[in-house]
């Protein structure tokens, strides 16, 4: 089956009186990798389940290629989902788990065996056919779950936090393996995650969600450098905000607030004219492996900065953020477009 585009129009989901998803519009191009990113409770898993057919829509439409999925039961949608808990059937062996979707499609036993062996080879788990799934490690289960989803050659792959139950090292290696596999198959993929690093590394397109709404849809680079508003910025690791003063750079941008990441604020950088500078008393200094995180109490805020050397609490220090690392926000806390574009519009 060829990979297809997914279109969500006006998608709204209510649970009792509570609105879980509110008027979601989304276009996913064929063969792309899209991440639904957001804090827990933002509705990202509900959106994925709505696409798979497990959550009924109150309003709106879901289309996969030319087909309207909205009113189809889950078993008719031909979407392949990988569950957070893997959901491998414990009463079936690895081979039976992988072969079940094929069995449902009336594929003969010999053909099933061949396809399962092929998939296991692709997952680097050859010879695992007779194993009980309950005896597999977390990483192996995850791969079998992925193989079970992919074995029917689906037009759309849905991943519900597939890596969140694994430890950090396996997660990192599976991340790139999953991305490689997705690219080689060219399958349209939607993955739910709350891990911004995972989303930034894997996605072609990130959908940032908050409280049932889509806040921003953009490439990882744009999302990271130009988050739509202060809330989005904070979720993406912009942990410092300061009110702009006349001495600060980017005066012409109209910014009211600047946001910046801790790693861009330095205590020991040589003074530079085009930089934001704040002075204050050091209240805390923590070793982080590649340097020190220093908490500075300025007049109007507590700010984090990095330092190559330890700084004694109580001493006065000045942090400096280069202009390129400043993220400007307007009076409504929304991100201000970069100056060059600003001028174009003007």
């Amino acid at each position: 089956m060829s990979t297809e585009a997914l279109t969500l129009n006006n998608v709204t989901v209510d649970l009792g009186r509570q609105r879980i998803l509110d008027d979601i519009h989304l276009d996913v191009s064929p063969g792309s990798f899209t991440c639904l990113l957001g804090p827990s409770g933002c509705g990202k898993t509900t959106l994925l389940r709505a696409i798979a057919g497990f959550t009924p829509l109150s309003r709106g439409e879901i289309r996969l290629g030319r087909r309207a999925l909205t009113h189809l039961p889950p078993e008719k949608r031909e979407t392949a989902m990988v569950f957070q808990s893997y959901a491998l059937w414990p009463h079936m062996s690895v081979e039976e788990n992988l072969g079940y979707p094929l069995k449902l499609r009336g594929v003969t036993r010999t053909e099933r065996r061949r396809k399962v062996a092929e998939m296991l080879a692709r997952l680097e788990l050859s010879g695992f056919e007779e194993r009980a799934v309950t005896k597999l490690s977390g990483g192996q289960r995850q791969r079998i779950a992925l193989g079970r989803a992919l074995i029917i050659d689906p037009p759309l792959l849905l991943l519900d936090e597939p890596l969140s139950n694994l430890d950090a090292a396996i997660r990192r290696s599976l991340r790139s393996e999953l991305r490689r596999l997705q690219k080689s198959l060219g399958i349209t993929t939607i993955m739910v995650t709350h891990d911004q690093e995972e989303a930034l590394q894997m996605a072609d397109q990130i959908v940032l969600m908050r409280a049932g709404h889509v806040v921003q849809v953009s490439t990882p680079q744009t999302l990271y450098q130009q988050p739509a508003d202060l809330g989005a910025a904070r979720f993406l690791g912009v942990d410092n905000t300061v009110t702009r003063t006349p001495q600060d750079p980017m005066g012409e941008s109209g910014a009211v607030t600047f946001g910046f990441r801790t790693r861009d604020a330095h205590l020991d950088a040589p003074p530079c004219p085009q930089a934001l500078i704040r002075k204050g008393r050091v209240t805390e200094c923590v070793y982080t492996g590649d340097g020190y995180h220093v908490l500075i109490d300025t007049h109007d805020a507590e700010l984090f900065a990095t330092s190559a050397t330890p700084v004694a609490p109580g001493t006065f220090a000045a942090l400096q953020v280069p202009e390129s690392a400043l993220i400007p926000f307007g009076p409504d806390d929304r991100h201000l477009p970069p100056l060059d574009r600003h001028e174009d519009i003007a």
């Binding site: 989902m81 059937w89 009463h91 079940y100």
Partner: protein
């Protein structure tokens, strides 16, 4: 040094003895109850099945029990097997709908309704069945009055069919209760993964949910079988002539002839049947515990 080592080694047995005695003391009430109320009567009835009037050992009771009541034994097994089959089918259907049903109000109504027979004793169930299944019973009356059946073709169901229906009516809720619990314990994502893979609800039930809940179904069926083999009121109320359930025949042998020998020989057969199923039951539970 030797003195001190002796001093250490000597008190040990003295300390251990009272502990054993205390343990025995704690178990004693339960042990006595089991011995006096269960093991001794069981042994006595087993022994009586092989003793004649003068107290000599004999196999005559067993031989006579088989020759006189062989048909009843087969009848009992047939009724119990048919009931178990009906119970299994119905409880799978009800529990399956409770687990996979898509109409919330229908699931709620079914959940509320199906448990009722659990709270009705066997003797009342027997009475209800009598007035429902007799020739002039409610079932035939309704069928005749709605024009679905001619009054001339009305027949009594108070035979093996009545027994099967009554036993099933009483035991379906019990097995469903156990099975629905086991099915509810199957991870929701297992069902969703199957539906996502393309399985209809029915295939989900038989290929994903039921295999995972099957041990509980077996337990429910085994316990139902033991219950059906030990109920006296229902066969007494529903069936007038021969053949009938073994419990009925045992009661008859004791009440009218005072013949404990043959009654106990009949009991022996019930023990054998329940012992086999109890062995299955234990094997299942042990295997499940080992797997958990």
């Amino acid at each position: 040094m030797t003195m001190s080592s002796q001093a250490y080694s000597l008190p040990a047995p003295r300390k251990r003895l009272p502990r054993i005695r205390l343990g025995v003391l704690l178990v004693l009430p339960a042990l006595t109850a089991i011995t006096l109320l269960y093991a001794l009567p069981l042994m006595r009835s087993l022994v009586t099945a092989f003793r004649d009037g003068s107290g000599a050992w004999t196999t005559e009771h067993v031989v006579r029990a088989f020759s006189l009541y062989g048909r009843d034994m087969l009848f009992s097994m047939g009724v119990v097997s048919a009931s178990l089959a009906l119970i299994a089918v119905m409880s799978i259907a009800i529990a399956g709908y409770l687990t996979l049903g898509a109409t919330p109000w229908a699931v709620r109504v079914l959940r509320w309704l199906y448990r009722w027979p659990l709270f009705i004793p066997f003797v009342v169930t027997g009475q209800i069945a009598r007035s429902f299944l007799a020739t002039n019973g409610m079932m035939n009356n309704v069928l005749v009055e709605t024009g679905l059946m001619a009054s001339s073709s009305a027949q009594s169901f108070l035979d093996w069919r009545g027994l099967v229906l009554t036993f099933a009516w009483k035991q379906i809720p019990f097995v469903t209760l156990l099975l629905a619990g086991a099915m509810a314990a199957v991870e929701r994502s297992h069902i969703e993964a199957a539906r996502n893979a393309g399985a209809s609800r029915l295939r989900c039930l038989f290929e994903i949910v039921l295999p995972q809940a099957a041990p509980t179904l077996w337990v429910g069926l085994i316990l139902s079988m033991v219950a059906m083999l030990s109920v006296l009121s229902v066969p007494m109320m529903l069936i007038a002539g021969n053949p009938t359930m073994m419990t009925s025949m045992m009661a008859h042998r004791i009440t009218y002839y005072g013949d404990y020998g043959i009654a106990n020989a009949l009991g022996l057969f019930s023990y054998a049947l329940t012992a086999v199923t109890a062995w299955f039951y234990l094997r299942l539970t042990l295997r499940r515990e080992a797997g958990a």
